[in-house]
Amino acid sequence: MLLKEGEIRIPSGCAISGFISRDGHKLNGSDVVKSISYMHDRSNGLGGGFAGYGIYPEYKDLYAFHVFYNSNTAREQTERFLDRHFDVVNLSRIPTKKIPAIINEPLIWRYFVNPLPTKIASSQLDEKEFVAQCVIRINNDIDGAYVFSSGKNMGVFKAVGFPEDVGEFYRLEEYEGYAWTAHGRYPTNTPGWWGGAHPFSLLDYTIVHNGEISSYDANRRFIEMFGYKCTLLTDTEVITYIFDYLNRKQNLSLEDIASVIAAPFWSEIDAMEKTDPEKAAKLKYFRNALSSLLITGPFSIILGYTGGLMALNDRLKLRSMVVAEKGDMVYIASEECAIRAICPDVDNIRSPRGGEPVIVNLSEEGKRKCL
Amino acid sequence: MKRVYVNEDWCLGCHLCEYYCAFANSGETDMAKAFKLDKAPVPRITVEEGDGINFAVQCRHCKDAPCVKGCITGALSINNGVIEIDGSRCVGCYTCVLSCPYGCIVIDEKNGGKTITKCELCTRNSAGEPACVANCPNRAIVFEERGED
């Protein structure tokens, strides 16, 4: 019997795509579906998914939980947990469309919630940490329940299938957001579990990732010291937690995080000691204090977060990734075709160097509109 | 020019240099055979033994070589800095033995002392590099350039 994600480590190759309107224009979900579909051959039908940012403006101050349930028992158990810890403002099944390509779907529910202030207070955690721990508890402790999206004004949609089918299944053409990411999965040994599809998310961090990191267990065993539990045993999961830890908990900027997880080689740092000693000292510090968070092996990722996207390659650039611009739009994809498919006449296109982060944030105008 | 130098700190007095020297110049390909023929070949290097001190001595290849100057037959000559002996011309008068301040001219006892022999830095045998140096177990003898001609 094949073991599912969380029971065994499942590496995979993949396709990723994503784009953002810096000025906060509303972008229909169908574009991202079209983009990822052009990299059909980079998936094998065992997983596809999307993340959209700015898609729930009407509930933008509430946490939007997307949950898979294997059974109504699991749902009832989860809802009891939610009721104890959150003010559940709205709950519903996520609208889907029956199509032949997508089968065996679990129960898929959505909740807009607010954590109960009394519970936050008694936990002595800040709000985000409280929410994150609740998510981790549901996923670990309630059999058959899996929260796969938990941020505000954003949502993850994923399933077993080719990504274009998943997009159709979730009726993404009915959503509009300022940024989207997409993932087509090519796992080598999963039976196909919906929770194992990408993006992986925690709070508003989502990761789509193409690669197979060699440092996985070193990263996992380190990050687990800080309250994370890598239940899926996937790269995407551990990378998400690393971003969460460094960005949310340690307050490192995204640029600095790139210097941690795709650190420059010592030869570069040594050379920098003459030209920019302060920067060299910082990099040396990262490579010492946070050495266990260095990620080696091939990866190209798009991190989605409230207000922006970040793209990053491993330091040897062992996976393809290109970035293009057109007006206020920035596109990122594993292959150029995925960009040209939705924006044939880009202003410029380039292939960032290994370890060079591409960070795109909403402009002031975009922030006004969307945040 | 590369020369052989000794460092007595590291000489163990094992005498292997003597044996390897003799063998290298014996013309034999097997060491045991070389030493088991009627008469053992003669080493051109000598290990001196003292109280906790040992060192090997062999021809210093003097620039101003008294052995060459004193040689009555012209059997000793200097070629590219190496003092060579032409055994066919040596008559065993030992004037060189008398002259060498280092005691490095060796009487060839294998032929009953009819000629002398001496270190030629293994330039005229098949060892390629000085066999004493190559086989010193403790690098007490080195063959190197120390900035002299």
Binding site: D217, A218, L316 | W10, A32
Partner: protein, 501 residues
């Protein structure tokens, strides 16, 4: 008398067709096994004195010698082996404790040999270390739990004191006294050239080697030999030796014969007196006492040097390590029971302690479970025999490794396990000037450098195979390991899966 007679352990076989009677064997044998008999015109041997150190075999220019075990057979059983019988005979004769040297020869499981390493195929490219950078630099010391920022928002890059290693391999503690000055010089110079560290052991630091201080770990052991402020300040780190893998729970004893002038001066004890290290530190009877010593040493060195606490791998090593991690130590060194020693009671060496593999796995996991793995770096030693052992140790969770025996092998040691006799024919475990000079540090240091470079090459090859291009991504990366022929309990302790899983 017959009851007190032991057959020679070894037999010296001389091929007289090859022997040219050069007498090199005779000159080189400190055990006086070989001698020339003028009447016979032959080399003869006293087999009973042979310890099988192979010096004569290695030095014989014609390859005329070999040493083999004496075939004389006692009526042994699987239970009462010849070895056990001889040991009992010896004790019946001497009434004393049996002494041994180097690591245990007993057939305990070597877990390194039951662990296999992963390599990339297809889904993840292996990396060619000849084409791509392959990094092995490691820092040892406490990591900050939170990243602090300066008032201007920049990162505060100050760190507690660290050791910086170009290669995650250090030379483990071997005292001057137990090994020779030339051996120490070889280690010191090699460490300096390699950009790593050697360890003084408990015998103090010879004045000639203060120049290598940047690459020296100075040890403070229960005997406190040679310890003074200048010594503590001379090194890059200070190691408190609580225990040694080969002899957990007991101290040390360097016979007076080895305390010659220089050793005496370095150890700060009178010439010819036995140097006795007590079993415990008599100022450390508990973990809080250890904490006091750690901070005393830090005070003495103005908090500029990391402090290492070295312990033997014993049954509850994980809990002990946890205590040490919380006691202010920067680095924990764990020494496995198969590790070497210059002298140890045989029964202790062969029966006390646990294998380093299990100890390391348990300690690393325990510190992670407690969330304090960042408080300390872990260095392991005690029979890491090759680069693959090193890779496995790092993947199990070690930050760096200590090598002792392989370093000695590089210097010529043939593991005859007779260090305690003080007559080491290879010039390593001896203070006899004529023997000491057999180890030319010029050769010794070069061979150490070669050895570590060779290991480093191999480590990089294996890392590249795994698709890892920096050693920190290997550290604790147990997914890269699989067990072979191990039971579930062993796999659980090692935290690895079985091959095929």
């Amino acid at each position: 008398m017959p009851v007190n007679f032991f057959p020679a352990q070894f037999e010296v076989i001389r091929n007289t067709d090859k022997c040219i009677k050069c007498r090199a064997c005779e000159r080189q044998c400190s055990n006086e096994v070989h001698f020339y008999d003028a009447d016979y015109d032959k080399m003869l041997t006293k087999d009973a004195q042979c310890v099988d150190c192979q010096r004569c075999v290695c030095i014989c220019p014609t390859g005329a010698l070999k040493i083999r075990p004496n075939e004389n057979a006692f009526r042994e059983s699987a239970n009462y082996t010849q070895q056990i019988m001889i040991e009992n005979y010896r004790q019946a004769g001497s009434g004393g404790v049996l002494l041994s040297s180097m690591g245990t020869p007993k057939d305990y499981p070597v877990y390194w040999d039951k662990i296999l390493i992963n390599a990339s195929q297809v889904t993840n490219p292996s990396i060619d270390p000849l084409r791509e950078p392959m990094e092995t630099k490691v820092f040892l010391g406490k990591k900050p739990s939170t990243i602090k920022k300066n008032p201007d928002g920049s990162i505060n890059t100050e760190l507690p004191p660290h050791l910086e290693l170009n290669i995650p391999i250090m030379f483990s503690a071997m005292s001057y006294g137990s090994i020779s000055k030339n051996a120490h010089e070889s280690l010191a110079r090699a460490a300096a050239e390699l950009g790593t560290y050697y360890n003084t052991g408990e015998g103090g630091l010879h004045k000639d080697f203060y120049q290598y201080g940047e690459n020296t770990i100075v040890q403070v052991a229960s005997g406190r030999f040679g310890v003074f402020k200048g010594y503590l300040e001379a090194g890059a780190a200070i190691e408190i030796k609580m225990g040694q893998g080969a002899k957990p729970g007991i101290g040390g004893h360097l016979p007076g014969a080895k305390i010659r002038e220089d050793v005496s001066r370095t150890r700060m004890i009178p010439m010819g007196t036995d140097a006795i290290s007590p079993a415990p530190h008599h100022d450390i009877y508990s973990i809080e006492d250890l904490r006091q010593l750690i901070f005393s040493l830090k005070e003495a060195t103005e908090y500029k040097k990391p402090v290492i606490v070295k312990i033997a791998a014993v049954h509850n090593v994980a809990a002990i390590a946890s205590g040490i991690a919380r006691s202010g130590a920067d680095i924990i060194a764990i020494d496995g029971f198969r590790g070497g020693t210059g002298a140890a009671p045989t029964r202790i060496r062969d029966n006390v302690g646990i294998p380093i593999e299990l100890a390391l796995a348990a300690v690393d996991q325990r510190l992670r479970d407690e969330g304090i793995r960042n408080e300390v770096s872990i260095v392991v030693g005690g029979s890491i025999r090759s680069s693959s052992d090193a890779v496995k140790a790092i993947a199990l969770g070690a930050d760096a490794i200590y090598i002792g025996t392989p370093a000695l092998l590089a210097l010529g040691c043939h593991l005859c396990r007779s260090c305690h006799s003080g007559k080491c024919n290879w010039g390593i475990a001896t203070q006899r000037p004529d023997l000491v000079k057999r180890l030319n540090p010029e050769i010794g240091y070069q061979r150490l450098v070669n050895l570590v470079h060779a290991w480093d090459h191999e480590i990089k090859e294996m890392m590249g195979g795994m698709g890892i291009n920096s050693i920190e991504s290997l550290r604790g990366n147990r997914l890269m390991l699989r067990g072979i022929g191990l039971n579930q309990k062993e796999l659980d302790i090692l935290g690895i899966q079985h091959a095929g899983e």
